[in-house]
Symmetry: C2
């Protein structure tokens, strides 16, 4: 009989990514829990899409109610999308006051990059060298998960990503300066090559790069370099946004810089396909003038209802405060774990990284990290890996994650580490 994996390959083709050596067959979710087809329960320490918890009834009800009333595009007027944009923009402490609603983070980043083009009239783009910003052809040219066919186009420059253990320039104290110098050099190259410089796109938590520990102000020299060159700072908040980091609604607040454009995605409506680009009126006007943009599904009444309900739950259940409290608690417990292969344990809010290294304390311990992920899965705890060499454990649970959930994860991790070779 054909297995689910065989059927999947027959219908979806080869190389369709799954998690784990033997993929999970998940059939039900609730809060921070997932159940597989055999009824086994897993603590979800990985998924950020179900931001306010799997299948949160308030979001499900909002979707069902609005879907039964009206679901049409924004070529007709409707209050709900405006109510949402108004509340969303109020979450930003500076002059980002307008938004475009789309369906995926990729669509949002595809627009953000064009905003930089529209404002500057230039096409040169900079990103970090181990990042992922989405899957449209345009956006994927910034990603390094798989270099584009024919190599990176001439208008793209990648700069070395910040790193806690192997700092850019070799020294943690000067990493911020050297990082900015590399951006300045990339800008010079783009200008010399005739592309000019349009913008720098980054995740303010450098989440795919490995979630390095960075001090507030780390990006100040870089932002100054970008601004001086007339470019835009494009901030991809798809992972750190919506309170994930506990101390603030947005990742850029933690570092203390003010992006020109912010993109939002996955957690925005707890799984409903919606995303957004938030920016200043001058940037929006330049984009709207240059590109005749319309998105059929983007910002429809059901999407807006799902977004509003998600925002409501974050506020009424105090999930940002919870991320701060449980984040601090769990990070401390994670940092109490010891094993010679642990190079650094770091985190902010409900976003944790544990980097595994070889005996020299620097070389990435990729296989070790994979074994830990598999060991945790065997103990019913779902998490994953990030980093240039996939040697960094990534924990990014749904936001209602409690201290006792943290205890469960930490205790299981302690057991897994205890059985790993020293």
């Amino acid at each position: 009989m054909e297995s689910l994996e065989q059927r999947r390959q027959r219908l979806m083709g080869p190389n369709v990514p799954t998690f784990y050596r033997t993929p999970l067959h998940i059939v039900r979710g609730e809060g921070v829990w997932l159940w597989d087809v055999d009824g086994r329960r897993y603590l979800d320490c990985y998924n950020n899409v179900p931001h306010v918890g799997h299948c949160h009834p308030a979001v499900v009800e909002a979707i069902a109610r609005q879907a039964s009333q009206l679901n049409t595009h924004t070529r007709y007027l409707h209050e709900r999308v405006l109510d949402y944009i108004e509340r969303l923009c109020a979450k930003f402490d500076h002059d980002l006051s307008q938004a475009i609603m789309v369906c995926t983070g990729s669509e949002a980043n595809d627009i953000a990059l064009r905003m930089a083009e529209a404002v500057t009239g230039k096409t040169g783009l900079i990103a970090t060298d181990n990042t992922y910003h989405g899957n449209t052809k345009f956006v994927s040219q910034l990603s390094t998960r798989r270099p584009p066919i024919g190599g990176y186009p001439g208008n793209v420059r990648l700069v070395p990503a910040p790193d806690s253990l192997r700092p850019v320039g070799g020294d943690l104290g000067s990493q911020a300066t050297v990082f900015a110098e590399n951006v300045a050099r990339a800008i010079e190259e783009l200008e010399a090559s005739g592309h000019g410089f349009a913008g720098f796109m980054l995740c303010p938590a450098f989440a795919n790069e490995g979630l390095p520990c960075l001090e507030p102000g780390f990006l100040d020299p870089t932002v100054e370099v970008v601004r001086k060159a007339g470019g835009l700072v494009l901030c991809d908040e798809v992972q750190p946004g919506f309170g994930r980091l506990g101390d603030a609604w947005w990742g850029h607040e933690i570092l203390g810089f003010r992006p020109d454009v912010v993109t939002l995605g996955k957690p925005m409506a707890n799984g409903h396909p919606v995303a957004a680009v938030v920016t200043r009126p001058d940037v929006m006007a330049a984009f709207r003038e240059a590109f005749g943009y319309f998105n059929t599904f983007g910002g429809n009444p059901v999407s807006a209802a799902a977004c509003l309900a998600t925002l409501d739950v974050i506020e009424t259940e105090g999930l940002v405060e919870n991320a701060r409290d449980v984040g601090v608690y769990t990070l401390a417990r994670l940092q109490d774990l010891s094993h010679p292969r642990i190079g650094e344990t770091r985190g902010h809010g409900l976003f944790f990284g544990m980097e595994f290294v070889a005996e020299d304390g620097v070389a990435p311990a990729t296989d070790f990290a994979e074994a830990v992920v598999e060991g945790m899965r065997d103990r019913g705890i779902l998490l994953n890996r990030i980093g240039r060499k996939m040697n960094i454990l990534k924990m990014r649970p749904p936001m209602p994650f409690s201290r006792s959930d943290g205890d469960l994860a930490v205790e299981a991790l302690g057991e897994v580490l205890a059985r790993m070779p020293q």
Copy 2:
């Protein structure tokens, strides 16, 4: 007090498209009907997103049920998306047996174009010269609604779109041949310029181009030219797909050609943001090998449930048969209407065009068409315009559109035309 339009401009920026001189404020939908904020009812003769009718309870219930059970990505295994792809692919009469699920038609076309790149190793693309295939930066380079900043890139060639009243080459009888000759010339240019030829993307109803009357076999010479050059035929079924044309599930069946890749979008899940790319295993394998593609929301259990429910309703309510029956009936009634400005009334299934022309019988009567659209709106009938000069009335109602709905629309149109200057 701030109006809804002012608020919209404040929050979404300038140039956000709406329908009508004074936009509608719609608050409720059911079947083929929409209601505005003042309780006025409108017959929807335009929207194809609510394919099986606005707020169809079976689709709403499927979404609500699945959203309350599980909504996660496809990195875990789940039957529902496979059940859907299997049923979807069974609707194709040839070897298109695999699919990628995404969130928007734009994402689907962005992939389809890359499939042509992956199979051929070339980058040259051809489209018709008055088309729209989506809003990512890559896909929008094929669209002519607004030419890209800096002009069309060197790897894109646009060929004149087929036309009922102003045939390519000047003669209806030879239009198919001349159309193919233009494609052949574009291929030669792309090859001479070093880009090579990857694929030709088209809507098989040429819906944005004006929905011209074309005989079965029209594209045969073109498909032969494309195949001979080693390129792929990429068929954008976002508008004609899912039985819209009555006589078949897909637009390409009406013309009788076999595309290598088919993209699907808007009507697929009755408004839930989902889309797909359907293709042969060899094309899929080439794409999956060349691009490491993953879409977070694409094909999640809720999207799959919405798609399955929509497919169920199309089948159980006999909506393809209804499109055929009501289409033939309504087209005949539309063709009975007379006014000197009507150049041609055409259609297929529940997709109608009425082209308005000046006294010479050829020059587009754009203002006349706009006045008719506004007049119909005043009578509570929603429709719109297409074509190079926006002089063609476009009717594309939800699929449960009945004969008596057709009567209402035709009678209102008769009244509007009777009051228009001769």
